[in-house]
Amino acid sequence: MSQLMPALEPYIRQRRAQREAHGQAPILLMSHLVLGYPSLAVNQETIAAMAAAGVELVELQIPFSEPIADGPVIAQANQLALDQGFRVEEGLEFAAACVQRHPEVAFLLMTYSNILMAYGVERFIERAAQMGIRGLIVPDWPPQEAGQPMALCQAQTALDWIQLFTPTSTDVRLQTIGRWARGFCYCVARKGVTGGRTDFDADLRHFLQRCRQVTDKPLAVGFGVRTSADVQTLTPLAEIAVVGTAALEIQRTAGAVAVGAFFQKLRG
């Protein structure tokens, strides 16, 4: 039975169980980096540091010239990678090598719909599955437009099309998206979207409750996690804490080794 299940979900449950068995906080960490920023060589060091620090999931973003779902920091990283001549093909080869090098980590690809379309949607998904990528996150391809890639992912045994929940989604909308959920659900709870910091914890709790009502899949939450206090807040609420911009900023100012230390401290 477990062989028939999508690979990402059992992986998440298993890794959480292992942490609990060791008396550790069960929350998993998912990090994010932009391929080619500042270079693939630095990406490689950063990923090694993340893996050594016990990061369970890594999101590799293939840069796009129009990153409409990204904040200014990551948008700029996209642009700089492209200015330095980043090509999709070398990014995919790099991702394949990451999977080989770090079999204990689940790698996902994050990018925009046009990258898949230009490559050929079917070809892209087959290649991702073959190289052992576990999930695809494509934030400008909402489920009502994404019938084709979602069906193609479903035909693969171990590649999930990840759905996104946001605080602005109505309950009806969450239900619709929840029906398509595979692997885990990515809850985007950006600071500044839901209001001031004082209300934030209550808002976040309420939002995640609404998410739970529409899916039994694990929840990954990104809201600008920076500190171990943030991770602690999330531990009882979500299965996975997403660390995006903070890691990128540390890598930029203090280098790859500092990123490892940062992740090591995040779970106390």
Partner: protein, 411 residues
């Protein structure tokens, strides 16, 4: 009205966080469109505030020169000097209907920002214009007017600091402010319902032009020319004639330094674009093999854009609209010819339509009746046009002016 698709083009490829915002806007737009009083109030406002209907001017001297009957639709006579007024006033009325009091917009060269600022002043809305920091530096005259009109101009310093970064910043604002804020997109592009909604407001151009040419000539035109950046002025005039199949509709894109050089913004006429998705919608984009958007070039900032209205992409595929490109050199020559023959000062954007018509006129049947959509006037863009014409007197003037300012500052 549509489901947001025109053939295979259009759609709403937007981050989930914007889904509800777009749903609400689509509902408000759909209701307004079904209410005949809304359109009537729009027409009344444009008559009273923007001088509509704009004339269909018979170009007597050009007609004599080319031995064909040539008419010019005078969108240059609108408030703020361009067809942009139609869209901003229409969306302003929609804002009143939705009870919103704050408007945000992106702007590249500043024309759409300025039009939005006038609307906000007239309707009493708070107005924030997002503009790439580089564009703020380059387009001081429009920034000056926006600020004097009471708008806040926010220079965007992320990414390449140009139009697309301004769009992203405006969208970020909207996500956090949708209850009281409307995002006023400037052209017939972007995610549904913008292409359709903007085209609807601009259809006033074509409705008028159709009636005017029938009055003047007793028959429909044989050819209609319009320039195409995002595509809103072209959509505006073409909609008057879409069902009249014998009327040839010609969209003119920016040929820049020439199609062979790669330095242009001719998405459809060049044949070198590919169907893809960016900025929330599916259309033909100038992109590389990886799907990354390319840099475009045109002497006219308003045509310097990587995508094109999904409605025009569809009309290109069906063959209803033919697309051509005019180069920077042809455009500057056409601008001078129209100025000197008719005393009209076209914007560089609109001069593309003029240039293509002048190229084709000698080959048209002798009984041809041609309409050129003059989407905007050029005198407000004196800095850009003086550069395009490489005017030595103007350059001397600016140099002296700069010297007198530095003199003042020293004293």
């Amino acid at each position: 009205m549509s489901n947001g698709y025109f053939g295979e083009f259009g759609g709403a490829f937007i981050p989930e966080i914007l889904h509800e915002t777009f749903q609400r806007l689509t509902r408000a737009y759909t209701e307004a469109r079904q209410d005949p009083e809304f359109w009537a109030s729009y027409v009344r406002l444009m008559e009273n505030y923007s001088g509509r209907p704009t004339p269909l001017t018979y170009a007597e001297n050009l007609s004599r020169r080319y031995q064909r009957r040539i008419y010019i639709k005078r969108e240059d006579l609108n408030q703020t000097g361009a067809h942009k007024a139609n869209n901003v006033m229409g969306q302003g009325l929609l804002m009143q209907r939705m009870g919103k009091r704050r408007v945000i917009a992106e702007t590249g060269a500043g024309q759409h920002g300025m039009a939005t600022a006038t609307m906000a002043a007239r309707m009493g809305f708070e107005c924030v214009i997002y503009m790439g920091a580089q564009d703020v530096e380059r387009q001081r005259s429009n920034v000056f007017w926006m600020e004097r009109l009471g708008a806040t101009v926010v220079p965007v310093t992320s990414g390449a600091q140009t139009l697309k970064d301004a769009v992203n910043e405006a969208l970020r604002d909207w996500v956090g402010s949708m209850d009281a804020t409307h995002y006023l997109l400037g052209t017939a592009c972007g995610a549904h319902p913008f292409p359709e909604m903007v085209s609807w407001f601009q259809s006033i151009i074509g409705l008028e032009a159709r009636q005017q040419i029938l009055t003047a000539e007793g028959r429909l035109p044989t050819h209609v020319y319009a320039c195409v950046g995002g595509g809103s002025n072209a959509m505006g005039i073409f909609q008057g004639f879409l069902d009249d199949l014998p009327v040839q509709l010609i969209g003119v894109e920016a040929g820049g330094a020439g199609l062979a050089t790669g330095r242009h913004a001719a998405r459809l006429a060049s044949g070198s674009s590919a169907i893809g998705v960016a900025q929330g919608y599916k259309t033909f984009f100038l992109q590389n093999a990886d799907g990354q958007m390319l840099d475009t070039h045109s002497v006219a900032a308003g045509l310097d854009y990587v995508g094109v209205s999904p409605i025009l992409a569809h009309l290109h595929t069906t063959g209803r609209v033919r697309f051509a490109a005019a180069t920077d050199v042809e455009v500057v020559a056409a601008l001078q010819e129209l100025m000197q023959a008719e005393g009209l000062i076209p914007a560089l954007e609109s001069s593309h339509a003029v240039a293509q018509a002048l190229k084709e006129l000698p080959e048209l049947p002798s009984d041809a009746v041609v309409i050129i959509n003059l989407s905007g006037r050029g005198d407000k863009d004196i800095f850009t046009i003086a550069d395009a014409l490489d005017d030595p007197g103007w350059r001397r003037f600016i140099r002296r002016k700069a010297e007198s300012y530095s003199q003042c500052e020293k004293e």
